[in-house]
């Protein structure tokens, strides 16, 4: 199928005859982003259906009334778009000021400080004080889940969490309740997250642009700007989800999905997202152990390996190579299984090697 291209004029007022090319079926926002033209957004998320709720992406389009949101407006051939007129910027600023007034956006007390789209937008629009006085009444936090903390007071009602839960993971655990300035994100019957049908997949936390949804286990382990991101593959089921490890000083502080990567397309489940910290358990085996008089004592590598080799040699000499057998791990890396079967075949001289393929 050949894609039909369309041509738009964007910000032609500043740049003479600025023509940009997009594909038929794209929104104004998508065409602009593909061409490196910045439009601020808050409720938009590339993996989820457009929502048009926050009105930060508003633009002016010739022959269209008002200020349509770029994220929901289909791009049409010949459109003349302006993304940063004075009036557009003024409305955006007011939207942000209202958001700040209806909430408790104290970045000092927030885990998302430095990794927050609202903070970035406020900075970008050079807002210096909160202009409006409101009757905002703070709500208690919900920290019933062992994994997720919900702070309604930092919520900007962008609806991303609702769409992530409903459209990506299809769990439908949360929705927007009530209307207008009373609106908030609620579970069915307004229970705590723990008592809801939530499966703790954390997809909502992943897409939340602010600190309204945060990870409990990541608390105090480091700030956003201190993290190094390392890509890896989930150690649990056979889907093999791609994930970013957020690492500070060699310790995993949290995990997020690699957006748009195959096979998981930015999704993770509860085990993949939250099941990483066994690595740091104090119960890890740290040294070779040899059984002696019914209990185990610590040993050096040389002593343990010499003993293993000697006993295997002795048994093979006495009973033949097929008197030894081994099971490889279907959890460990390929290279480990390769090496183990090589040891059994080339070293011990037996094909008695298997793995837990059947459980």
């Amino acid at each position: 199928m050949k894609e039909e291209t369309i041509t738009l004029t964007v910000n032609g007022r500043d740049v003479k005859d600025r023509k940009i090319v997009g594909k038929k079926g794209q929104t104004v926002l998508e065409v602009c982003r593909d061409n490196g033209i910045y439009i601020p957004t808050l409720c938009h998320h590339p993996q989820m259906p457009p929502y048009g709720g926050c009105r930060l992406c508003i633009v002016q389009i010739d022959n269209m009334r008002g200020m349509p949101p770029a994220c929901t407006t289909p791009a049409v051939d010949g459109m003349v778009v302006n993304t940063h007129t004075e009036s557009v910027v003024r409305v955006r600023k007011t939207v942000l000021e209202l958001l700040l007034a209806y909430g408790d956006h104290n970045c000092l007390l927030c885990d998302s400080n430095g990794d927050c789209e609202l903070q970035n937008l406020v900075y970008e629009h050079q807002i210096e004080h909160i202009r409006f006085k409101t009757d905002f009444v703070p709500k208690p936090k919900d920290d019933s889940s062992p994994m997720i903390v919900r702070d309604h007071n930092k919520c900007v009602l962008c609806g991303r969490c609702v769409r992530a839960c409903l459209n990506l993971q299809m769990n439908g655990a949360i929705d927007i309740a009530e209307r207008g300035s009373n609106a908030y994100i609620a579970t069915f019957n307004n229970t705590s997250l723990m008592d809801s049908v939530c499966v703790n997949c954390g997809q909502c936390v992943e897409v939340c642009p602010v600190g309204a949804l945060t990870e409990k286990k990541a608390k105090g382990l480091g700030r956003a700007w201190e993290m190094e991101k390392v890509r890896t593959t989930c150690p649990y089921c056979g889907v093999g989800c791609q994930m970013w490890l957020h690492v500070k000083d060699g310790r995993i502080t949290r995990i997020s999905a690699v957006e748009e990567a195959q096979p998981n397309e930015g999704r993770l489940c509860v085990k993949g997202r939250f099941g990483y910290d066994f690595i740091y358990s104090e119960e890890r085996l740290k040294t070779p152990l040899i059984r002696e008089n019914g209990s185990f004592r610590e040993a050096s590598w040389d002593e343990a390996l010499d003993l293993v080799a000697a006993r295997f040699k002795e048994i093979i000499a006495k009973h033949g190579p097929d008197s030894v057998a081994g099971v490889s791990s279907s959890r460990s890396i390929n290279e480990d299984s390769y090496q183990m079967q090589k040891l059994f075949r080339a070293g011990f001289g037996t094909n008695n090697i298997d793995n837990c393929a059947r459980t």
Partner: protein, 531 residues
């Protein structure tokens, strides 16, 4: 899998059989759910009303272990009503006549009697499947963990070939692998009959190839034994030394009492692991290994995708990468192995020796990895196998199979069927998930899931303690009354040592694959005096 996960969400028709995807493969399940939201039909065949069944257009609760009778019945309808893909079968497959003769022995009425569903439901399934093309078939251990597991798989393949769905995008036969690297462990030749890349040990050409690559003496030509036979061997004395790497056999294998007897009979047992487990208790030597994020390496997922695993920290104490440990032992057997990192092992050994992986190099794995077969360094990988019905081994083989009942069926003394599987919040024996903060809070103990109807008949209230007993052992667990489980069935998992289903399960195995029948055995349930 013949196909890829990405195709799930685009599929128009999905037949999910014996797969508890929402718990065992949650992200894969999310794509299946997405497909249904886009209007796809989803037929879920499962004795339980699993989470996926909530999204199904049709849920078919067949009896545990009746899969072949069901599938033969469906194929009977496809053939008698002339709904199958005649052209595909004629040009791409062999063995149609034999299959036809076999499935004609399974008219819907007979299948229905075995499966415990209506004959018309079987007809309906056949007609729906034939009406939408392509259809994807996905299965998991509900198909394989039976004494007839191998035949169950053949039956799934028969159905998909009959429908002309193998080799099409959004079609195919798609087993979801239970563990992250089962696929890889098999690809690497951690199997008794094949070298890496599925090259038979019985083939002299393969042996001489590996012998010269490994620079070793002659390699054994007799296929080895599989794990259940190894355990038996420990007991009967034919196996003296046993090396267990990263598996907790004392909890994962059926009939724990028996398995522990086998393990304690070993003359010499080596365990290589990251934690002490129920299995390491029996070891003579325990070797401490590096864990997941302490290793560079690769995993291969269910869709044959080789992907990178990367290091973020050093292993604790003096523990070492597994490949390093094996190398040191080889040195004590007079072998000087040169590769000194996972990358080197892959680039200069594995990819040189396994033709299907020949084109995979670490430098090509920076993004989303590669799906084998990747025969050359310029090959882009193979998301879809048997494209357009061209099977890697010539024509697709239709192989007739007969239904047999599970090895142990309910009787007066043990009137319930016990079936087992995994739950969302834990993984296997919790060696890892049990030590990840918070997961035990989400699920802290095992339960016996049973129908409220059976609960009422036995006077058992939800949450009360019950004793579940089989011929092999007994456990005391909480009853979880749920209408997701049909009457006559008890469902349990194997995540907790206390109440582990494997105290009860039956060590009866598929004669070919040696897979245990975790999905069916007979148990009795009784109410305990409540504290």
């Amino acid at each position: 899998m013949t196909n890829s996960f990405a195709e799930f969400s685009r599929a128009k028709m999905i037949l999910a059989i014996g797969t508890n995807m929402t718990e065992a493969h949650p992200v894969a399940a999310s794509f299946v759910k997405n497909a249904t939201a886009n209007g796809a039909q989803l037929i879920v065949v499962d004795p339980r009303r699993s989470g996926l069944a909530d999204f199904a257009t049709l849920h078919v609760p067949i009896r545990v272990g009746s899969d072949i009778a069901f599938l033969n019945g469906v194929m009977n309808v496809l053939i008698t009503e002339n709904l199958y893909d005649r052209e595909y079968v004629e040009t791409c497959c062999t063995g149609f006549e034999a299959l036809r003769a076999k499935v004609l022995e399974y008219p819907p009425e007979r299948s229905a009697e075995i499966c415990g569903i209506e004959a018309d439901t079987i007809r309906e399934v056949a007609r729906q499947l034939a009406a939408v093309k392509p259809a994807m078939l996905a299965y998991t251990l509900g198909i394989t963990e039976h004494i007839c597991g191998m035949n169950n798989v053949l039956s799934c393949a028969n159905l998909q070939m009959l429908l002309g769905n193998v080799g099409l995008e959004c079609g195919g036969v798609n087993p979801l692998r239970g563990q992250n690297n089962v696929q890889g462990a098999c690809d690497m030749g951690a199997l008794p009959n094949v070298f890496p890349g599925y090259q038979a040990v019985a083939d002299p050409k393969a042996r001489s190839k590996f012998q010269s690559a490994w620079n070793c003496g002659s390699l054994p030509d007799k296929p080895g034994i599989m794990m259940p036979q190894m355990l038996e061997g420990l007991l009967n004395g034919s196996i003296k030394a046993f090396y267990v790497f990263g598996e907790n056999l004392a909890n994962t294998e059926p009939d724990i009492h028996h398995v522990e007897k086998c393990l304690s009979s070993a003359e010499f047992l080596v365990c290589q692991d990251i934690f002490p487990t129920e299995t390491t208790r029996f070891a003579h030597v325990i070797l401490p290994a590096a864990a997941w994020s302490e290793n560079d390496g690769t995993f291969t997922n269910s869709e044959r995708r080789v992907n990178r695993v990367r290091t973020v920290s050093e292993p604790p104490g003096i523990s070492k990468p597994n490949w390093w440990i094996f190398k040191q032992i080889a040195a004590r057997f007079g072998q000087n192995w040169s590769s000194d990192s996972a990358r080197e092992l892959w680039d200069s050994e594995i990819s040189q020796l396994a033709p299907s992986l020949a084109g995979v190099r670490y430098e090509r794995l920076e993004g989303d990895g590669l799906q084998w077969p990747v025969p050359s360094e310029t090959h882009p990988g193979t998301p879809l196998m048997h494209k357009d019905g061209k099977f890697t081994c010539g024509l697709g083989q239709l192989i007739p199979v007969d239904w047999i009942p599970p090895a142990e069926v309910p009787d007066e003394e043990y009137p319930f069927v016990l079936s087992t599987g995994r739950r969302l919040f834990h993984y296997h024996t919790r060696t890892q998930t049990g030590r990840a903060l918070g997961l035990n809070e989400l699920l802290g103990e095992e339960t016996a899931d049973m129908s409220p109807i059976d609960g009422a008949a036995l006077g058992i209230q939800n949450g009360e303690m019950v004793r579940v007993k089989s011929r092999r052992g007994e456990v005391t667990v909480k009853a979880n009354l749920t209408d997701r489980v049909p009457p006559g069935l008890i469902w349990m998992a194997f995540h907790f040592r206390e109440g582990c289903a494997n105290w009860l399960t039956n060590p009866a195995f598929d004669p070919v694959t040696q897979t245990a029948e975790y999905k069916a055995c007979a148990v009795a349930v009784e109410k305990l005096p409540q504290a």
